[in-house]
């Protein structure tokens, strides 16, 4: 395994009311690799992802125990500034969530929130991210049109660009392509692979083929437990746990 893990999850347990959703999950997420979390639906994958940027804080009646360390800092320590933690992570949701504003303002939202006032600097960031996302040529003439008018595939690429505009270190993807057509899916997957050069990527997916395509590292979550994890090649070729084997062969889904 690569030297310093970027993110470490230690004994994380999450419960909603009396319902336990994650049980003692411990995982080291390697730096600048794509880690894919796989598992059947409803087994806690999204909850795990949301615990990483503390989005679970908004949920009523949630109990979180254990620790999550980003660069050795416990993000759940009392007194920690949540917005700073979240700035380190970019989230890509399953259904593209464009903010109710123009294309330009969507991307500018993050930088502006974090204090950037200079109009030229903001415009430069917008252009840079749109170019990286391959959207620039498509939208440069309508930057101030509402973002909701873009196609679903374009919206998702916009969301990714928006997330990158705040210069995170970690990218979190929650089933990022399941709402997209095959072509847009490929574009997004390609982007994620390009991005691992500079960012640590964690993706949750139920599409095994996608996992095979992009994963460097695999974590298999089943019924709230981390059953198995390791380099993708190993887990796919020689799964150690019978449950992993069952999932990979399609017996449980």
């Amino acid at each position: 395994m690569t030297p310093e893990p970027h993110l470490r999850i230690r004994d994380l347990s999450v419960a909603f009311g009396a319902q336990s959703v994650l049980k003692n999950v411990s995982l080291d997420v390697p730096d600048r690799k794509i880690t894919v979390i796989i598992g059947p639906s409803g087994c806690g994958k999204t909850t795990l992802l949301k615990s990483l940027n503390r989005l679970l804080d908004s949920v009523d009646d949630v109990t979180i125990t254990g620790g999550i360390f980003v660069d050795d800092e416990d993000i759940y320590a009392p007194g920690v500034d949540v917005t700073r933690i979240r700035k380190k992570m970019g989230l890509l949701s399953q259904k593209p969530q464009v903010l109710p504003m123009s294309i330009f303002d969507n991307i500018a939202y993050g930088p502006r929130i974090h204090g950037l006032r200079d109009g030229k600097a903001v415009a430069a960031i917008v252009e840079r991210e749109l170019r990286s996302a391959g959207l620039w040529d498509e939208v440069k003439d309508r930057l101030h049109a509402p973002a909701s008018r873009l196609s679903v595939g374009q919206q998702q690429r916009l969301c990714l660009a928006r997330g990158l505009a705040v210069e995170p270190e970690i990218i979190l993807g929650d089933e990022p392509t399941s709402a997209l057509d095959p072509q847009s899916s490929r574009i997004v997957e390609q982007r994620l692979i390009e991005l691992k050069a500079g960012y640590t990527v964690i993706v949750v997916t139920h599409i095994l083929r996608q996992a095979r395509r992009i994963a460097d590292y695999i974590a298999f979550l089943y019924l709230g437990e981390l059953v198995e994890h390791g380099p993708a090649a190993e887990v796919f070729a020689r799964p150690r746990d019978p449950r992993t084997r069952a999932y990979l062969t399609g017996e449980i889904s």
Binding site: D81, T83, R84, G115
Partner: protein
């Protein structure tokens, strides 16, 4: 914007928000409290058991039994009439036609318009109709007018409940061979019964408390009406007239009447809430 300033702005608004909520809740408590405190000296059992004595509007003796019974008769009659009209309309809209059909849209539109009509306009309209058909200010005229007032309120509340019935349930009934009428009564109504009762109660509460619609139409009297064609006293008007007299003892009774009316509305409101909670427990999902 520095981080501290962002937090600072949030803190200011939090205080404002809490303050605003306190104002809203506080005004409720203030109103209830004031009315009850002022009413306390005059709240005697006689108030609800006797009719007023001593002439000129509310005499210095007796109670407001005329208004209590008058309001109850009037609101019950009006609610019953509104029920007879709204239920078929809403059932038709939900069982017999698709939601988006042009006719359904128009009917709902008309109901929306009616919902927004101020009660004084209903009163004026009721007055016009009364004069037209030669009816004098009476219980009946009041019932018709208040029924018109209650109709859109009841229909809207019922519509919201009935439209929650999943199409799948209606389809299942149809595929078992039930006619639309049977589906309407045996399946939809049963599913929605608590919600429908809530709608009836909401409308009833409105009917009891409204003054402007009965001002022209129900008249006023010191006695309990014994026929539909006699004028009827109503609680809101009793309060209004009592408050307007120059006698402090009578004004005192206005407060007591106001407290009684509020108490009545409170009970109706609680009953409606309890029913709608029951609704949430028993609906199929």
């Amino acid at each position: 914007m520095g981080f501290r300033r962002r937090k600072y702005e949030e803190r200011i608004f939090r205080v404002l928000m809490l303050g605003a909520t306190a104002v809203v809740v506080g005004s409720l408590l203030l109103i209830l409290g004031t009315v009850v405190i002022k009413a306390w000296p005059a709240l005697k059992l006689d108030m609800i058991l006797k009719t007023p004595r001593g002439g000129y509007y509310m005499g210095k003796e007796g109670g407001i039994l005329n208004a209590i019974l008058g309001s109850l008769y009037l609101a019950s009659g009006a609610t019953f009439l509104a029920l007879l009209l709204s239920l078929p309309i809403v059932l038709y809209l939900n069982v017999y036609t698709r939601r988006k059909s042009a006719w359904a849209v128009q009917v709902r539109f008309a109901l929306d318009v009616l919902w927004g009509v101020p009660s004084i306009v209903y009163g004026a309209f009721g007055f016009i109709v009364m004069v037209l058909i030669g009816l004098r200010a009476s219980l009946l005229a009041g019932i018709i007018t208040v029924a018109l007032l209650e109709l859109p309120i009841m229909a809207r509340a019922m519509d919201e409940v009935i439209r929650l019935v999943p199409q799948a349930l209606k389809d299942a009934s149809a595929s078992l061979g039930a006619t639309r009428l049977e589906t309407a009564f045996k399946v939809v109504l049963r599913q929605c019964l608590p919600g429908l009762l809530t709608a009836v109660l909401i409308a009833f509460g409105r009917g009891v408390g409204d003054a402007a619609s009965v001002l022209f139409t129900a008249g006023f009297t010191d006695s309990v009406p014994t026929s539909l064609f006699q004028p009827a006293a109503t609680l809101p008007l009793a309060i209004f007239f009592q408050l307007g007299t120059p006698f402090p003892e009578v004004q005192q009774r206005a407060y007591a009447s106001a407290a009684l009316l509020t108490f009545l509305i409170l009970i109706i409101s609680l009953a409606a809430r309890a029913l709608s909670r029951k609704l949430r427990k028993h609906t199929l999902k």
